[in-house]
Symmetry: C3
Subunit: 192 residues, 3 copies
């Protein structure tokens, strides 16, 4: 079930990719598909909670399952929020660094989707964990440079506020990938 | 004791309601009463921690009690911060959406206060949990529209920054209600 | 190992102190030393996680050790971010309240470094916990007044955005000190 949730996040990250360079009618349609993906994510999360509720024995600690499902849900929420804000704020053009942010998220989404099935066997998780932490550091650097660009650039203050909100939400998505990786590590620590 | 903490939050949400439409001298007086309510909340939180400290057997897991008390405390802190910022920033007029935010918080406060006594019997908690999650989604929509209004409206940048801080803090209060509901759900999962 | 991590935070808080009044070339050099301190902090955190991984019996609950190490790591990250942003945004002059923020952080760092060795004997931790909570309240007041100063002062909107980011990160560092203190309290509750 975590794999389904992570596959959904890959869908979301591809929609973010499509958003770059889309015109305003295409954006509205991407936002629509993103909302559908987010609802699918909510359903996956509730299925995990329901299963958790009705199971006496769980493969890992209940708290860790809960935390993992919540963090996967958060990622989808942040990605959906980013698309929604681009439409809602009628942003003309996204600064170049946003593309880099989204590329990092797409890579983290792929790695997360690949890692989830390995929770069964508890193998190959260290590489995943290290790589997602490395990606989060990279996302952090991109985010800081983007803000410096917004603050020192040619934007007016209100435009800066709109764009800042969007790049901050994308940074929160990167952080949420790290939370997923950290929970996976916690599970691995307990199983070892 | 959780019920006392939640009743205090109802008091706080009523003070937020009073803040709307209050002139500057009335605001200062509301801020004073809000601070008193927040101190009462702190006392309730410390009473719970003290009880936890001196009890060998607890009705739920210690961590969940700790988390529940902390989240209830957070709600009060955010509500107090919102009032304090309105006074501190000498905000002239609050945009209309703030009233909607506060109405959602007031409803969540009522539901939370009604649900707390049900922790004894573990009944009627599912409805509470679902409804608070629904309210949080609603708060989220109101918050996003408020920001779009601030960014696309007639406000100057500094005024936007002041108002954004206030509406963000109110959104954090709505999130904290959801944390309380999620902790209640975690407790219910464990008890089932 | 927690003591090593906390000592490193004291180093970080001293670098923050040096930052005040440093010219731009001195700032770049302080940022360099801060990065080194942050890397040392990362190594300390990973050493704790590795030890946790390879130990069958741990002095406290694994989750609490994990949480304590993570929060100590967060403090270092926020302090490093603050210095990096001052350099990156080419901030001319920091408002006076920033000095007060940093003084509170330096005091919290000292108290935390003194408290960590006491985790062995579980003595003198109540005073530490109460004092760090008091400092966090003080930091919160300074932070709110700083924002009011930025919003009502002589700054243009973009400058306000830069400075707000920096004072917000310093406030997050103060919050992270409180998280450390709260985790210490949780450990003390369980041991009592």
């Amino acid at each position: 079930m975590f794999a389904a949730s992570a596959d959904n996040i890959v869908t979301g990250s591809k929609l973010l990719m499509e958003l770059l360079g889309a015109d305003s009618s295409a954006r509205a349609e991407i936002a629509e598909r993103m909302r559908a993906a987010e609802h699918a994510g909510d359903d996956a999360t509730h299925a995990i909670f329901h299963q958790l509720n009705s199971s006496f024995i769980t493969p890992f600690d209940r708290e860790d399952i809960y935390s993992l499902a919540s963090s996967l849900d958060d990622i989808m929420d942040f990605m959906e929020e980013a698309v929604d804000l681009v439409v809602l704020y009628q942003v003309e053009e996204l600064p170049k660094g946003v593309e880099q942010q989204i590329e990092v998220l797409a890579r983290a989404a792929e790695l997360t989707a690949e890692a989830m099935p390995n929770l069964r066997t508890m193998t190959n998780l260290t590489e995943y964990w290290i790589e997602v932490n490395r990606l989060e550091n990279q996302a952090d650097q991109i985010h800081r440079k983007l803000l410096a660009h917004l603050f020192n650039g040619k934007y007016d203050a209100i435009e800066v506020l709109k764009l800042k909100q969007i790049v901050d939400v994308l940074e929160e998505a990167a952080d949420a990938f790290e939370h997923v990786a950290n929970t996976v590590e916690t599970i691995a620590v307990k199983e070892s």
